[in-house]
Symmetry: C2
Subunit: 238 residues, 2 copies
């Protein structure tokens, strides 16, 4: 698959250079010396190509003049993700049917930067870790694991059996996140952009929580809500 954009490629060069097959740089971009140097160090081939070619390959997305051929994204097995999370005190984040690459990418970026988070997504009715997602994730994918599961409810059940306490966000009739004492090991569940958490998922949750909003008529973006939750998790973990 392809990785494009300056930050995503620089992050990948730093943390996982072996996954890069080759890099193409737009002939109009002469400010990419750092990238060339890193590629030299790791023996990664760098081609300078015409602007039109890079635009065509990237289907006119905003490449910032750089495009890398990389390994396909490597999902992990749910069992491995959960066991590792338990051992290393990480928090699995279960995403219930997200459909916007911008949101999944934003969540991967925040979770990767904050650290100690992994992600579980359903195989169907959910966006996967696509090229657009990696563009937004800006390297976050190098600092976490993602598992794809056929049934998110079963995955949550499995986590519960392993001892994870599962918290899910709702928009009414729940304690405020600022007041809830989280229990660890902790798993977090976030609902989809349009529908929030499905009933079948809600039933499996140990504690519901609300982000305190003054303007209840409004809704938060799910990726921003996840950032607030993850920040609070980091905060309470200390």
């Amino acid at each position: 698959m392809k990785l494009y954009g300056k930050n995503p490629v620089i992050e990948r060069l730093k943390s996982n250079p072996k996954s890069i097959h080759r890099i193409m740089i737009d002939e109009n971009h002469i400010d990419l010396a750092y990238i060339r140097k890193k590629c030299n160090q790791h023996g990664i081939s760098v081609q300078t190509v015409p602007h039109s070619k890079i635009q065509r390959l990237a289907q006119n997305l905003n490449t910032q003049g750089i495009l890398a051929d990389i390994d396909d994204f490597a999902y992990v097995q749910l069992d491995d993700l959960l066991q590792n999370a338990l051992d290393k005190k990480r928090t699995p984040v279960f995403l219930d049917n997200l459909n916007d690459p911008q949101n999944l990418g934003g969540i991967i970026r925040t979770c990767g930067a904050l650290g100690f988070f992994d992600i579980v997504i359903p195989t169907t009715e959910s966006v996967s870790v696509t090229e657009s997602v990696l563009r937004v994730a800006c390297g976050g994918e190098n600092y976490l694991s993602v598992a794809k599961v056929s049934n998110l409810g079963n995955a949550i059940e499995k986590a519960k059996k392993m001892g994870f306490w599962i918290v899910g966000t709702v928009v009414e009739d729940a304690p405020s996140l600022t007041e809830l004492t989280l229990q660890f090991p902790l798993g977090l569940v976030m609902g989809s952009e349009e529908k929030g958490l499905r009933d079948i998922i809600l039933k499996k949750i140990d504690a519901q929580v609300m982000i305190p909003m003054k303007n209840q008529r409004m809704s938060l973006n799910v990726a921003h809500a996840t950032s607030m939750l993850c920040y609070e998790i980091v905060s309470q973990k200390k």
Copy 2:
């Protein structure tokens, strides 16, 4: 100016219907009964138009079948914004040269939903409240004020003289946000996507703060970082 997308238009109908001149609905979208009802209540003209027309008017952006002609966005004067923030215990958020509409829109959405925030942006070298920003803001613009200023440093100085304690986010050598006791009335300053806070702005800040990230090599998206800051502000205000 134009407002498009289901959520942005529904939010506007709820909170500021007078700013809507007329609404156009894509003939292929028959699921917008709620919007038609609200428009009837407020005497807003609704036209059903061919799909091609709505796409042309929206320059192929994702309208979700709905487009509204609305008043131009009304900025407020800085003095009014600050005085109101002081009186109503709101927090002005100073954004130093943001250039991505997605980020400004995301910040407006979060700040509007959480409540008690207003926004100050520079006139030049910054994205304004454009149609793309409103699409992402999803109605947040109805719950806060935005002031445009020629010099952000001077605006911060003015806030300080009025008694606001100014906190700014940096990426190293500062206390963690989870450990800093915020002082109110509070003003928040966030840097641009690429460069963070400029030195000239940094000098004016009362306290620097860092979001605790395990992976320091990574960077957070500025809109997500703002969400975490705003959440912590709401949390400490309680």
